[in-house]
Symmetry: C2
Amino acid sequence: MSKVTIIGGGNMGKAISELVTKGGNTVEILTRSDASTAVTGEIVVLAVPYGALGEIVAQRGDELAGKVVVDITNPLDFQTFDGLVVPADGSAAAELAAKLPRAKVVKAFNTNFAATLGTGKVGENTTTVLVAGDDADAKQGVVSFVKAAGLNALDVGSLKRARELEAIGFTQLVLAGSEQIGWTGGFAVVA
Amino acid sequence: MSKVTIIGGGNMGKAISELVTKGGNTVEILTRSDASTAVTGEIVVLAVPYGALGEIVAQRGDELAGKVVVDITNPLDFQTFDGLVVPADGSAAAELAAKLPRAKVVKAFNTNFAATLGTGKVGENTTTVLVAGDDADAKQGVVSFVKAAGLNALDVGSLKRARELEAIGFTQLVLAGSEQIGWTGGFAVVA
């Protein structure tokens, strides 16, 4: 049984909090502005846009020490839709890990649209959450609450692979933005 | 009606040549060593490993001028399986385009396993070929012969997006290499 804290009250935060409770685990939901309430989960999902990560680090950096911190962001340049705003050889997750050296940062959920987390389906396929991170137990914690909710989760490797996961998230947003796929579709992973 | 030349006799070359004929188009198959036979297709698929692109450019660079040249490679470091051998802000396709300035380079097929091109299915999903390139007509030529064979094809944008397609191909190879997916599975795209 895990306790998962979700910071962020948007579509993704809601969808992930529903996953947690669907799997029989416990959730605490905090908004970004709710900086005075303590984080009590051992897994903390930062369900906020890339641009808000710095604010959370500033507010809660000490509090996140020792915890599993899940980065779900897609650091797109939303002005141009033509690139990412992180260095080409890095990732939002790598930046976050550098700012939170005492936390165990995991990249996950950035390749999933919220609707597909809610239904557990991408078309006829079970939704798969792709997970990257350097701490095996931290990744396993995320994989466990995802699988407990009936979804699939696959381990793509170390946190370096967040670069590729962000490229996948970017491509999926490009396809949705150009209306070639819908927000209930996207990438499915077939075993 | 298009004529497509495939250079390379491996699994991918065979699968793509079958797609071409299945769609009612004409195919010419050349092996890498077959440098004395002229390329007669207006679309030329370089169905070779990344490391062989330089040799083909050296042999056939002049001949490829004006043609649609399709790069299908995944430039993995196959020693470590932990990165790509192209610059982080570039791609194999961008390198190829720089070496073939008079050709219209399209990235395609690198996110598809050969088996899924043969069956037209990834699990229960119709196989989708993701295509990137700077020349709209060149991309359309590839999209057309793919769709004529009953598969889907989606345009992910300019040739800059080859970087993201190579990240997707890399991730899919990581998942197959770690036996989390099989070579008949991988990424499906759901509309």
